[in-house]
Symmetry: C2
Subunit: 361 residues, 2 copies
Amino acid sequence: MKHYLSVSLISALSLGLASCVSVETDFDFDDPKPAPEWSLVIHGGAGVITREAMSADTEAAYLTALNAALSTGSEMLSSGEPAIDVVETLIRNFEDDPLFNAGRGAVMTETGGFSLDASIMVGDTLDAGAVAGLSNVRHPITAARKAMENSPHVMLASEGADQFSAEQGLEIVDPGYFYTERRWESLLRALERRGVEPPPNLYGPAETTDLSFPDDRKFGTVGVVAMDQSGNIVAGTSTGGTTAKRWGRVGDSPIIGAGTYAKSGTCGVSATGTGEYFIRLAIAYAICARIEQSEENAQQASDHIIHTELTELGGDGGVIVLGPDGEPAWSFNTEGMYRGFATSRGEQVVEIYEFNETAFD
Amino acid sequence: MKHYLSVSLISALSLGLASCVSVETDFDFDDPKPAPEWSLVIHGGAGVITREAMSADTEAAYLTALNAALSTGSEMLSSGEPAIDVVETLIRNFEDDPLFNAGRGAVMTETGGFSLDASIMVGDTLDAGAVAGLSNVRHPITAARKAMENSPHVMLASEGADQFSAEQGLEIVDPGYFYTERRWESLLRALERRGVEPPPNLYGPAETTDLSFPDDRKFGTVGVVAMDQSGNIVAGTSTGGTTAKRWGRVGDSPIIGAGTYAKSGTCGVSATGTGEYFIRLAIAYAICARIEQSEENAQQASDHIIHTELTELGGDGGVIVLGPDGEPAWSFNTEGMYRGFATSRGEQVVEIYEFNETAFD
């Protein structure tokens, strides 16, 4: 950690810049700085995340998880490891962490099961892999990488994707592995609102947590975008989708161009939010196209797509972005987004709320 | 038909313009003309389609099918019917026609089954619907429309998509309905190249055709883009995917932004080709983004994406496009693409080959 300013020091610095902040953040992404040798930006979902609805313990747990991811990624990138390994490693860790809606801790479908989606894209080559509707693969992001590297296809779905993952030697788990009481309770609430009888609880009860969560129907998709020292930008996203989803619903996370996109020298994007809107606007690609074809930088392009196009259509959520030279940005129109970034310049920042008025108090 | 010039007359006119043609076509999309009140462009797949490999009877069958679609669509649009009904109707007809790789006549998966994909997008509202991996729904394009109109989701996959279609009252068929000897033989050839034992033939034999086809591993995806008299641009695509596809492969056709996109006043696009490349380049959205953000018209934007980006990445295929004012365009880097367009100006044109040197002989 010696290369990085502590979170509290960065926090103090960023609070000092409060007079020049955008609506999203307490620091200024537009402040001229030398381009980073490597950089990393992460998210753990966006939604109605307010200070009022968040307990101190829950906030601390998210901050700890996000900082751990940034520290791991920073160590790998500063050691020269490739961005693709960083993206896969960090997302695997998120998939193992029940705090997030990906892998263990995923939200449940209407029928009380799990249907996991992930995608990954390599900006140097535009290679991409995606999986949708996995039911028993512990690490969907690794399945997406294997689809990219070891199949002639980009996107695999449902039983076929499970079968491919098994053939690739990935760790297969009983679906009960993904189960958490928190998500079962979310399912029951969602079905009650819908007026639908709950399915049998096939996997519970499970160990419970003392943490309390804000209303979490849509939270917790995870994403990582990293630029390594060779300039390769890689983006990845993993999710359990939306609570009580039906009929094999596929959201934006496994859609290259919607939930994930990367093109080295232009951008890398991972998205989270109401996936249907992100598909209809091809959000991830749209941001890259604006960066490439306009004078806008990553922050401006992201803000336009999120605060104008997404908001006008009625969708909500956010994106994390690396710009052409690896400069981090993010934008969201929700009350909060679990997020953080780190760069070779020694920055390491995590934030949760819109104005971040409390995360670093 | 009284409102339209005959195909042979248009052919004669277009041959007369041969000195100013682009590499794609015998007529000049850039020739200044009044904007159409309605317009329609269709494709039936792109690939290694050469005059040498095509029998006269097969060519005639495709020309007849394409002209029938244009005539039906023209009658609907000139009567003021909405573009979405035109797109759905024409694609349903293609899905019923074993000439095309969609619905009946779809190519077969590695295991000897069918896995059908479709999507539709409405340019006025950016509403969209998509289905992937259907196994028993006669008209996948209607399933995509129902997903758009009657589900909270954009994209449904596999058994869930079949189930949704049945709940919506769509016509469910035995998978044998989709079976054709031509596609079984294609599967056998593909598996032989791959060194894989063929699966049992669950559905054959079926009625055979006297027609002979060029090598057809990837041909026959169908797409329609229509602009109605209100200016609403709607795009739709339907396919059986690629022969011998594995592991629940999802191609570009059901991916909003890759195989299909529509935004009234900007563009409508339907794509066909090596789907993995179309996903990685977000081809359909990319063309719309170039039209919106550059000075390029639909033809120029399409040519850039197909002849530069797609070709440089190693992919092949093509697109049909309507531009901001409904002007038709197409672009492809293959030897041929089954295609046609019609407009309120009385044009009705169908073409097959790259230089179209023979279709209208």
